[in-house]
Symmetry: none
Subunit: 208 residues, 4 copies
Amino acid sequence: MTTITTNIKNPERVRVKHEQIFDAALSLVKKKGFNKMTLRDISKETRMSLGNLYDYIGSKDDILFLIHQKAAKIFEANIDSSGWKDAPPLEKLRKIIEVEFDSKVVCQDLVMLMYQESHELPKEALRNVLGLEEKRITVFEEVVRESIDAGLLRPVNPVVIAHFIITLIDGWVLRRWSIHKKVTADEMKKSIMDMIFSYVLDGAREGA
Amino acid sequence: MTTITTNIKNPERVRVKHEQIFDAALSLVKKKGFNKMTLRDISKETRMSLGNLYDYIGSKDDILFLIHQKAAKIFEANIDSSGWKDAPPLEKLRKIIEVEFDSKVVCQDLVMLMYQESHELPKEALRNVLGLEEKRITVFEEVVRESIDAGLLRPVNPVVIAHFIITLIDGWVLRRWSIHKKVTADEMKKSIMDMIFSYVLDGAREGA
Amino acid sequence: MTTITTNIKNPERVRVKHEQIFDAALSLVKKKGFNKMTLRDISKETRMSLGNLYDYIGSKDDILFLIHQKAAKIFEANIDSSGWKDAPPLEKLRKIIEVEFDSKVVCQDLVMLMYQESHELPKEALRNVLGLEEKRITVFEEVVRESIDAGLLRPVNPVVIAHFIITLIDGWVLRRWSIHKKVTADEMKKSIMDMIFSYVLDGAREGA
Amino acid sequence: MTTITTNIKNPERVRVKHEQIFDAALSLVKKKGFNKMTLRDISKETRMSLGNLYDYIGSKDDILFLIHQKAAKIFEANIDSSGWKDAPPLEKLRKIIEVEFDSKVVCQDLVMLMYQESHELPKEALRNVLGLEEKRITVFEEVVRESIDAGLLRPVNPVVIAHFIITLIDGWVLRRWSIHKKVTADEMKKSIMDMIFSYVLDGAREGA
DNA sequence: GATGAATGAGTATTCATTCAT
DNA sequence: CATGAATGAATACTCATTCAT
C-alpha cells in the first residue's frame, strides 16, 4: 500500500501533524503552485522545524500525496454522509449529483489542485490516487445502473453517464475564470441536472 | 500586447526556430512537466546552443506562453478550416462540435498541458491566453444563439451550452486515464452529441 | 536599517561566520576584484558549503557591504581606542592624524577596496556606508574646530581641513604604486603633519 | 608597446571609431560601471554591430585601456596647452596647479574611472597607464624643483609636493559625495593653493 | 568592412534533504 | 521528538567572443 513515511510512533500525533501540514500546504499550493511552494514555506506556516517536518513525511511529494488522499476522502465522505442511500432510485441519482456539486463548489481549491498538480505525483502515488477516484465514480455508475435496471431510465451506458456527471461538475470549477462571471452556481447546478436527466430519461434525438 | 522577446532580426528565422522550440518543449513538457523540463533539455533537443536559445526567447516562461499561444491558434484554425459556416444552422452546431472533438483528440497533449500548466504562466501571459480561449468559445455561443433565434432550439442559455460542449469534450481528454479503457472515442463523440442535442432540442424533464 | 539577511538564529554563530567570510572575501577581492570573485571562491576559502554560505548572507552584494561596514568599524575603533580625547587640543589633532595614518597604512587593502569597489554597492548600502564615513570625518572637524575656538589655530574651515587630512592620508595608499618607491611611510606621515600644521598655524601666503 | 588590436587598415577610420567607442563607453561606465557595461550596450550606443566592434578592439579590456589612454592624453594636453612654460617660476607652479584642478573638475568622470576601474586592467595595460601618469607627475616635480633651485621655495622634496598636489586635487573629485555639498570648487581651489604654498614657502611649524 | 547569428563556459542563487545535538 | 545548521546538486540566465556570409 502506498503510505507516507514517518519515524514517529504515536499515530495520533502523526494524524494531527499531517492535518497541519495539509492545511498549510493547501493554502500554499493555491497561492504559488506546488512547485514554487518550498518546504521552508511549509515549515514557517506550520511552525514546525524543517527537520521535524521530515519526521512526518518522507519527501516533498508525500505532501502532494497527502493532499490528494485527503481530498479523495473528503469528497467520498461528503457523498457518504448525505444519506442518499435511503432515497428512492431516481432521487438517489439527483441527490448524489447535488451533493457532489456542492462538495466540489466548497472545495474548489482541491479540484483545481487535482487536475493541475496530480501529474507531479510519483507514478505509484498517482496510481493510488486515481484508484480512489475510480472507486468513487463507481458509486455514480451503480446508482445509474440501478435506475436502469428498475426501468426508470433509458438503457444508457452508466459509465458514460457517471463520467459526464463528474466532468460537468468539475468543469464548473476548472473553467471558472470564464463561466463564473456569467452563470451562478445555482443556475449551473440546475442546468447540469436538467442536462443529465433530459438525456437519461427521454433520450437523444439522434443528434438532430 | 504580450510578445516573446527576441534579439533576432530575421522574422522568418524566428518563426522557424519558435516552431522547433515548440516541438521540443511540447514533447518534453509531456514527458516531465514544465517545471522539471530544463532549458538544457530544450537546448539538446533543438540542437541550439543555450545562448542561441535565449536569442529567441526572453525567459523560460516564454516557452510556456509559446505553447499556449500555438495551441490556441491550432484549435482556432481547426474550427475555421472546417467549413462549418456554409452549413445550415443545426448542422453548423453538429459540425463544430465534431471538429472540436476531433481536434482535441488529436492534440490531447495540448489539452492536458493547457489545464495542467497554464497556472505556471505569468499573470499577463495567462490573461492573454484566457482571452484567446474566451474568444474561441464565443463561436460556439453564436452558433447556438443563431439556432435558437431561428426557432430550431429551445431558448436555452447559449453561454451554458457552449460551456457544456467544451467541458464535455475536454473531459474526454482530461479524464482519459479512467474513461479511455471503457469507452471509445467514437462512442464518446456520439454520446456527447446526443447529450447536447437531447438537451437543446426537447428540453429537460425538470430533473425527474 | 541596512542589514545583512541571515537564516541563522544563533547570533554569535553569525558573528563568527561573518568574520570568516570577511577574511576570505577581503583576500579574494584584493586578488581578483569583487566582480571576478565568485561565491564558489568564498565557499572554498571559508570551507562552507555554497548553501550554508547563503544562510549567512542574502546576496553577493551583502559580502561587499559586510566588508565596507567592517572597514568603517575598524577605522572608527582605531581612532576611538587611541586615547586622543585626553590630550590637549593641538595634541589631539596631531594624535588623530597619526592614528588615522597608521590605521590606513595597516589596512591598505581596505582603503583600496573602499575607493575601488564601493560603487558596486547597491544604492541603499552605499548610502549607509557613506553615512558611516561622514560621521567619522566629523571627529576631525570637531577637533579642528575646538582648537580654533581655543585660539590655537587660524580660523580656517574645519570641513576643509578634515577633508584634506583624510585625502592626504588616503592618497598615500591610493597612489602607492607611484609614491611608495620614493618616499617612506614615516617621511610621508611627517610631511602630511607638517603640511597640515603649516597651513592651520601660520596661514597661507595668499597663494604666492 | 601596448596597443589595441585591430584588423582595419585605414588608420583614420580606426581613430574615428575609437572615438565613438570612447564616448559610448565613458557614459556607460559612468552609468553602470565597467563590469556591468556589456559589449551589447556599446554596440547599441555606437550603432556598430557586435562583429564590427570587434574589428576595432581585441577584447573588452581594450575598451577600458582605450579610456585610460585617452584620459591620460586629455590631462596631459590640458597642461601642455596652458602656456605654463612661459611664466616665471613660482607663477608656473601656480599655473599648473590651477590648470590641473580645472581639468580634473571638468573630467570628473574620468578621474573617478581611473581610480575605480584601473584595477580591472590587465597587468600589461595597467603598467602602461601608470607609466603615463608617472610621466605626467614629473612635470609637477620639475616645476617645484626649478623654484627650489632658484631659491624661491624651501628645500622640500619635490616628489612629495607633486604627490600632494595631485592627491588634493583628485581628492576633491573622489570624495565629492561628501565635500561638494559643503565647499564650492573655487573655495577648494583656493584652499589647495594656499595649503601647498603655505607649506613650500614658509615651512612647517614642526607639527606643533 | 560590416552584419548578426551562434557558441558555451561561467555564475548567482535555490531548495530538497540530512544529521549532529 | 524537536531543532536548526549544513550539504551540494541543480538551474535559469548572461555575455564575451567568433565566424560564415
